[in-house]
Amino acid sequence: MNGCHTEPEAAGALPLPDARAGQLVELRRKGETSRRDLLAGAAAAAATATAAAGCDITSVDQFLQKHYSELTDEDKKQIFARLEAQVKERSGVTVKISDPQPIEGVTFGYALNLSICNGNRRCVEACARENNLPNHPEEMRYIRVLEVPNGAFELEKSDPYFEGEVPKSGKYYLPVQCHQCANPPCVRQCPCEATWKEPDGLIVVDYDWCIGCRYCQAACPYHARRFNYGAPTIEPDRINPNQAYLSNRIRPVGVIEKCTFCLQRTRVGRFPACLEACPTGARKFGDLNDPNGELRKILATKRVYVLKEDLGTIPHFFYFFA
């Protein structure tokens, strides 16, 4: 039992011992440096090649782009302008890319009332529209609504592909999306720090830094991450022009993505799209640090549980009965 891939932390059960974590970070830092050196060399060659061929030079900018945490305001301005121009050119839609920052002292949380959720999937569709999810046969959806037999908690007995009028008798409905774990196994598995935890507890991905290895997808116990196998074709009339760099901007092929609690909305105070679309009012969202907020009232007075608590992921997404 000493192969590193069989250790419990690989499955996200336990935090890494400090010393090992330090070593890992060190290794990653080194990897990052050499990656950048390599890229710089390759880009120089590419620039020469594309210049000679008269090609679009913007892809080289993208190639050389730094990690989100190293971008200055000036860098961001240029990158956002480039991305906006790209969308304009490809689909004719004028979009605005912003970078709303975490709000001081706020930790986002979500609570979902299982007593009244009836599995109608309005949240799934609203999410797809808000977050610019592709609508072609390779479509992906961040929220999966599981139809579970009453009395069962084994998710393998659930069905995400149910059809026909809901609710069906003898079933309950369990919508699952990213739980924005406080101890996220997905983040620990990323070999290049392309996904991380923000100060407000949201787990985000720098789509331009992700190498598409999908380690994080395998590590997530909630099946919350989606991979862009195909080019993200979205009908122009479905494109949401209000976009944020770390959330719903249109993703390139070959990167991972997931629910971010609609940070383009929630960091400016609005409710997430799924919450407002739910006709039964089963979804509750807010600041976990606000002692008078709705979430804390729910945590204090309702029967609350989290999914797969034993894994120690400490989700910021709660299910309750009321």
Partner: protein, 180 residues
């Protein structure tokens, strides 16, 4: 020998940039905006069709019976212990509702009437933990009144058609039977 100088300068600049580290992260300041709550009502309906157009004040036959001429599509199914139109509607003033103690209540205050029986729900609704609130989690919110989601004559949610099911992954669809 003019060329090496700018090159050296450029290198220095790059080094300085590299040593100064990543830019400092500035968080958005916490806002002190108030939690103002507007209750969304469905007032137009009864404003357009006041009950007193047909019902004279105090003149109705308040005995429970099957209705064959008017209000036949109400589909009344509310509560298991009987009760009929005049449990909630007032005969004394048909344009009003009444509480169990006889207090008259305008239609837009119907949530007060609902609270009379559904106390636990009412507490949750006032706390913001039951019902659909939209707008801002840290600012102005619109809270729907009970009857915007629940038909007061038939308050249980009717079964509904769900949005389209997700496409199964291709590997799964290719297996015999396609969907699981």
């Amino acid at each position: 020998m003019a060329k090496p100088v700018p090159l050296a300068l450029g290198l220095c600049a790059a080094l300085v940039a590299a040593c100064s580290g990543p830019p400092e992260r500035k968080l958005a300041p916490a806002s002190a905006s108030a939690h103002s709550i507007t209750i969304e009502l469905s007032a137009e309906h009864w404003a357009q069709f006041p009950c007193t157009q047909c019902h004279e004040k105090g003149a109705a036959n308040t005995t429970e019976r099957p209705l064959t001429e008017f209000h036949t599509n109400t589909g009344l199914r509310h509560g298991s212990v009987g009760g009929w139109c005049y449990r909630c509607h007032s005969n004394q003033d048909p344009d009003k509702l009444h509480l169990t103690d006889g207090t008259l209540l305008p239609f837009e205050k119907s949530y007060e009437l609902c609270s009379g029986c559904h106390g636990d729900r009412a507490i949750d609704w006032r706390a913001g933990t039951h019902g659909l609130n939209v707008g801002y989690w840290n600012g102005p919110q619109t809270r729907r009144t009970c009857t915007l989601c629940h038909n007061p004559h038939r308050p249980a949610f009717a079964p509904m058609e769900p949005e389209k099911a997700p496409n199964p992954p291709r590997t799964m669809a290719a297996k015999e039977g396609g969907r699981r």
